[in-house]
Symmetry: C2
Subunit: 148 residues, 2 copies
C-alpha cells in the first residue's frame, strides 16, 4: 500500500480551513463547483467534474479544526477504498495542513497524476482562503497540467 | 522505502524538456537560479537556495529525451541516498514527465512538504517551457506555500 502525501501552510485559521473541508459551500470553492451530498459523519459527499469523472466520499471522521477523514466509496477503481485524511494544526495565525490519500494498492501511473493534481487543488484551497481566488473545477488551471 | 510521485504534461518537445533537466541554464530557469556544477554522467550538480538549504545531486543516468537520474549525495539528511528520476515520453507535440524521488526511508513530515514543493517546481518547469514564466528560487511562489 502506498500513500500520496502533501503539506501546505495557509494563512487562515484552523476554523476557516475546517469549514472549507466540511461544508458544501467550502468544498465547492476550491475543488469542484459541483459538490453535493451530506458532509456529516456517515454521509456521502458527491464530487462531480463533468465528463472528467467523479468521486463519492463517505465521511468517517470530523474533529472540528483538527481532522477530517473520508473513504472513497465510488469513483475510479484505483481510488475505491482509499482514505483521504486531512490533519490541521495551528501555526501562528495560520494553519498547516497535512494531507494523505492512504491505501493505494500499487504506485500506478494514475497515482503519479493524482499526486500532482492534489497539490494543485491544495494550492486552489490556499488561494481561496487567502484571497478568494480558488480555482475549483471547471476553472481549475490544472486542466492544463496534464493531457487528460 | 517510500517514494514521491508526480506526473505532468508539458506543451514542449522531449528535447526541450530534456535540456531543461540537463543543462545549468535549463535547471536555473525553473528550480533555483543558483545552480552550478557538472551536469554530465558522474558529475555533481549543486543546487543552492540561499539560507533555505541546498542539494548536491550526482548524475547517474542521461538518456537523451527519455530519462534522467540523479542521486542525492549531500543535502538534508532525509534526502541523502534518495534518487530523483525523470522519465519523459512524447505525447502529441508535447511531453509527459513522470517524476519520482525514490527511496525515502520513512514517510516523515518533511516528505509531505517536499512532495508539495516538487509539484510546485514542476509547475514552474511547465510555465518556463510553455511561456518563459518559470519561477525558480528566489522567485518561487512557493516560499509562501509553507511556513518555512
Amino acid at each position: 500500500m502506498v500513500d500520496i502525501l502533501h503539506r501546505v501552510g495557509i494563512n487562515a485559521s484552523p476554523r476557516d480551513v475546517y469549514n472549507a473541508l466540511t461544508t458544501l459551500d467550502g468544498l465547492s470553492s476550491w475543488w469542484t463547483n459541483d459538490t453535493q451530498g451530506r458532509p456529516e459523519i456517515g454521509g456521502v459527499i458527491k464530487f462531480r467534474f463533468g465528463d472528467r469523472g467523479f468521486f463519492d466520499m463517505k465521511v468517517l471522521e470530523l474533529e472540528p479544526e483538527k481532522r477530517v477523514m473520508w473513504e472513497v466509496v465510488d469513483g475510479p477503481k484505483e481510488w475505491i477504498g482509499t482514505k483521504v485524511i486531512w490533519n490541521l494544526s495551528p501555526e501562528g495565525a495560520g494553519t498547516t495542513i497535512r494531507f494523505k490519500q492512504q491505501g493505494w494498492r500499487e504506485p500506478v501511473d494514475f497515482m503519479h497524476h493524482c499526486s500532482t493534481k492534489w497539490a494543485s487543488f491544495l494550492f486552489s484551497l490556499k488561494a481561496q482562503l487567502e484571497n478568494g481566488k480558488g480555482t475549483p473545477y471547471p476553472n481549475d488551471f490544472l486542466i492544463s497540467i496534464d493531457f487528460d
